[in-house]
Symmetry: C2
Subunit: 233 residues, 2 copies
DNA sequence: AATGTATTTATGTGCAGACATAATAACCTG
DNA sequence: CAGGTTATTATGTCTGCACATAAATACATT
């Protein structure tokens, strides 16, 4: 039996995965170094590197210079969620997308908002509320605050036909942001808009995006009951 | 002004990000090809490739052979969630972790379960319910079904001190899985266990993992109100 | 015009070699 | 023995080159 050759990084990755899975390399255990594996697999070290790097990114391997590469003792599952524009999300489900503007005003926000967005307490922000529909049924309510100091163009946009959700993506770039998922009980207001029973449990997504040091927008999305955010592991 | 040189892929990435952000390359627009950028940046094409590939993976660029690379018109934000062992999650918050087994029995599951897990309708599974605590306060209830056809060792484990959550990670490898996040109203039972008001809105995580074609385990985690799953964008 | 074929082109990937860097291990030295 | 210095080593990355591959375009054929 001579060594089979794994000529591309995908097959090297598959073989490494197989060994981890078959417990040939046990959790926490040190695996051979790249150079040795390259010889064994009959490929270049950079090919092995590519494979191992990808596995390290997905959390299955821990790598440290000089210390070597070891199988993660308790692999942290990395679930990658694709947060798309709501219209796309709805259309991807095969439903007809609908949109309805509920409110649009420029006001000084409550302390809670300007605190989170780090805007001056007396600075007015653009407050937009809208309803997203799937096949004419309520899908999600969007409650958004836009920092007009950073995105002044938003003031001349009425958001009557295009959602702020979508408009901002193409008009207000951000450098980074935070996103949080939680469960909440709908307020009487929102229950009415979504057409659900009062106090229903709804899925909430809170997002706050930044352009360097300045906040761009803060949004809270409440989805109708039954909504699931799913992905593969 | 002569061209500054970007000698490593990170700085190339930063520069590309800067251009996208500064709208020098607009959404949907085609950017120069790798070879040209390599010349401009004064580095090898593979360095440019590495940078652009990373940006494509994070959803900011769309790349297609021959067609070239373009700035994503509507970047799909990829939020990567780290799903760790609950004990680690609690400890990472600086709280003391606690664990309590609520139930452990081997029974033939309801149709809903064996349907999802694709086990024979008459096959018994191991059903485990447990409570995870943070600083002695309820944190999450775990309701889990384990396929003892695939993980027979689970039968000789009492899960009295180590949670199934943690035990499975080191003893039952999986090849892939699905995970779903949602909001739910607690059942009377669970409300009692979590010590929350009946009908409270709780955050739910449902996970189903597979070892090739066979299901390994199906678990539902319900978190106490206020729980947030958060990450950076 | 419709269909099939060949060419072109940008990305995708592989390789060998080199140097950079971080972190451990080995060695001093007081 | 504690402390700091130096070597060693595995990963991280860059380079220049080559060829593979997908897909758009041009071209030829019916």
């Amino acid at each position: 039996m001579n060594a089979p050759s794994f000529r591309n990084w995908q097959s090297v990755q598959d073989e490494v995965l197989r060994r981890i899975h078959a417990r040939e390399w046990k959790p926490g255990e040190l695996i051979p170094n790249e150079a040795d594996l390259a010889v064994e697999f009959g490929c270049a070290r950079s090919t092995v590197n590519r494979a191992l790097r990808a596995l390290a990114e997905s959390g299955l391997l821990d790598r440290r210079r000089k210390a070597g590469t070891r199988v993660a003792a308790q692999p942290v599952a990395k679930a990658t969620l694709d947060i798309a524009v709501i219209r796309h999300e709805v259309e991807a489900r095969g439903n007809k997308y609908g949109y309805q503007l509920l409110m649009r005003e420029t006001v000084v926000p409550p302390a809670r908002i300007c605190g989170a967005m780090q805007t001056p307490a007396d600075a007015a922000l653009l407050h937009v509320r809208a309803l997203h529909l799937a096949d004419d049924a309520p899908y999600a309510v969007e409650d958004r605050w836009i920092n007009i100091g950073i995105v002044p163009q938003a003031q001349s946009e009425d958001f009557a036909t295009i959602s702020a959700n979508e408009w901002l993506l193409t008009h207000a770039p951000y450098t980074h942001g935070e996103i949080a998922f939680s469960a909440a009980q709908v307020s009487a207001d929102d229950a009415d808009i979504l057409g659900v029973a009062a106090q229903s449990a709804v899925f909430a997504i809170d997002r706050l995006t930044w352009d360097n040091d300045a906040s761009v927008t803060k949004v809270r999305l409440l989805f109708t009951p039954g909504y699931q955010l799913r992905t593969q592991l």
